[in-house]
Symmetry: C2
Subunit: 340 residues, 2 copies
């Protein structure tokens, strides 16, 4: 192995929307593979709103990506050299390959893990419905949202990889599900394919008024991926003992000034309601539980999901922004290489 | 009974701070007492920030006070006529007398209850440490805040009737307690008498910076009576799995425009933290549990409390504003009559 290794390195921290200037494109050589290490070739990268946070130089649930390092990203990868007894050349794995062709991983010390993909599993599924977005939906909704049969569940970012799975799990659990998404195409998919009871198009509708119309019994669970004015609108309609699951706040991730929070937090008091945040990595030890349920629902045709697959290593930085401009429908992935 | 009954009626709903113009002073005659009813003479009124909310014409945990009705207020009162087998003339009771000398109550249907005060109990205690403010502190802190030994507990509105009890219960439970209050007199009392580990004077200190200095292990429980910028500052310092107990938001109760919420709600996500609201009336069935503990701590000298006692029926409206200008130290009461 002495191949060219293309990399997108974090060059400077973003202020506002991410641009290509935030990254340096470089070509190096693949590194030497030491004892116990494996070298993987990255085939697919996952794009996740949380990556925007990793680019900031501030404490969070993971350390910031350092300047001069490849941008951190989850990947489906293939082992091309193995000095580890646990991996063989050709194995497909889920890893945190980062934006480069080849990644050197020590399976014993890798912070974010490296896991073999079971034979027969669609590799793109491990970055979507069986990956962090699916697990985020499953544990966030069921552990924090705790929907009961007949509850009204409202989901923002409903056409996204997490939101679309949240809504479908809520339906499977017997809840009435209303989604908030942007644009007629996303809304149509949610109603026709994902089985949402109704959908609010935040680009066309008065969100606050429409929540009131579509949730006559108020909102028992609000699963929020968006924050900002959408969160404030939802808080206007929460039921007694409502659970607000804070998953993300994509509306503010690219803001250059602090974005004020909802002015109506006192609605949590009058309704004895709860707002709670979570990070899916805390649930990784319970992943098998989620994958078993999600797999069964997929097999039964109860759980649909969409992948927005881009292609080409050169298009990686631009693909990240599809999340923030709302262009993606479903899970945003990019394919950069074919398996051997 | 055909006595003059002085009343302060809600005349118009406030916009901003409450003024005397929001009330009409009238004199009527005491009403006829029907079957099963009692007539009480009100001796002491409790002042609570939540009364400001009752003056607004919007849905909340209790119906708004109607225009032309006496302003709703908790009272210590004395039975002067009884057509109920459960009450005798002379009984001291805790009730919702409202701002008038005499109140007609049907004990079977009274929404907010009427309860005899046990012999030997200081009647002002049932409006403070054994009343809604003490119960609010007890259940809010223990049920929602769940402080563990060694936790850091931060309390805003710390010199108030609720906040001062919250901090002392937290200390009894083995937590380190930091209070936020306004002015040197309140801060000195909290450290010298109430045993807070340290105090931040929000009128003099940089609250955000001081929380950071005084809470090197971060904040495990934040009990918030204030909201606004104090809440935002506290959220900057929450620990993993922190509990933010939303009790009130006095900083915005008199605002004429919506007050933006904290810009850093995403800290709830990265710290897997929870923010939860509650209303003490849900806990009234468990009041005896709280009163037993609070009474024991009082008897042991572990729980101090202060009463700010004003006097005179004519001073009722002005006394309400003492809560919002921060003039009160401890529980704000007014005495309007002596018992028989």
């Amino acid at each position: 192995m002495n191949e060219t290794n293309r990399q997108w390195l974090l060059a400077k921290r973003p202020h506002g929307m991410v641009t290509k200037d935030n990254f340096n494109y470089v070509e190096t050589k693949t590194p030497e593979v030491g004892d116990g290490e494996v070298l993987v070739r990255n085939l697919y990268f996952s794009f996740d709103p949380t990556q925007r946070g990793w680019m900031e130089d501030r404490p969070s649930y993971l350390p910031p990506v350092k300047l001069g390092e490849p941008m951190r990203a989850s990947s489906v990868s293939q082992v091309v050299v193995s000095n580890s007894p646990d991996f063989s050349v050709g194995d497909l794995v889920q890893a945190a390959g980062g934006w480069q062709d080849y990644t050197l991983i020590n399976p014993k010390t890798e912070m974010l893990g490296i896991n073999k993909i079971p034979q027969g599993t669609d590799p793109t599924h491990v970055l979507s419905v069986f990956g962090t977005t699916g697990l985020t939906a499953y544990f966030g909704l069921l552990d924090l949202g705790m929907p009961k049969e007949g509850d009204t569940v409202l989901v923002s970012g409903a056409a996204g990889a997490t939101g679309s799975v949240v809504g479908q799990i809520a339906r499977i659990k017997g809840a009435r599900v209303i989604g908030i998404a942007g644009g007629p195409e996303k809304c149509a998919w949610l109603k026709a394919e994902a089985g949402f009871d109704d959908v609010i198009d935040y680009k066309a509708d008065d969100v606050d008024a429409r929540i009131g119309e579509l949730c006559p019994n108020k909102v028992d669970v609000f699963f929020d991926n968006v924050g900002g004015s959408i969160l404030e609108a939802a808080l206007n309609h929460i039921n007694m003992k409502a659970r607000v699951v804070l998953c993300g706040g994509i509306s503010s991730y690219n803001a250059t000034e602090p974005v004020p929070g909802p002015a109506n937090l006192m609605n949590l008091v009058t309704n004895r309601a709860r707002m709670e945040g979570f990070i899916v990595i805390d649930y990784l030890p319970r992943a098998a539980e989620a994958v078993a349920d999600l797999g069964q629902w997929m097999a039964e045709g109860k759980l649909k999901h969409q992948v927005d697959m881009q292609e080409g290593f050169e298009n990686i930085p631009d693909t990240l922004n599809r999340l923030f401009t709302g262009k993606n429908i479903g899970k945003q992935l990019i394919k950069v290489a074919d398996p051997m």
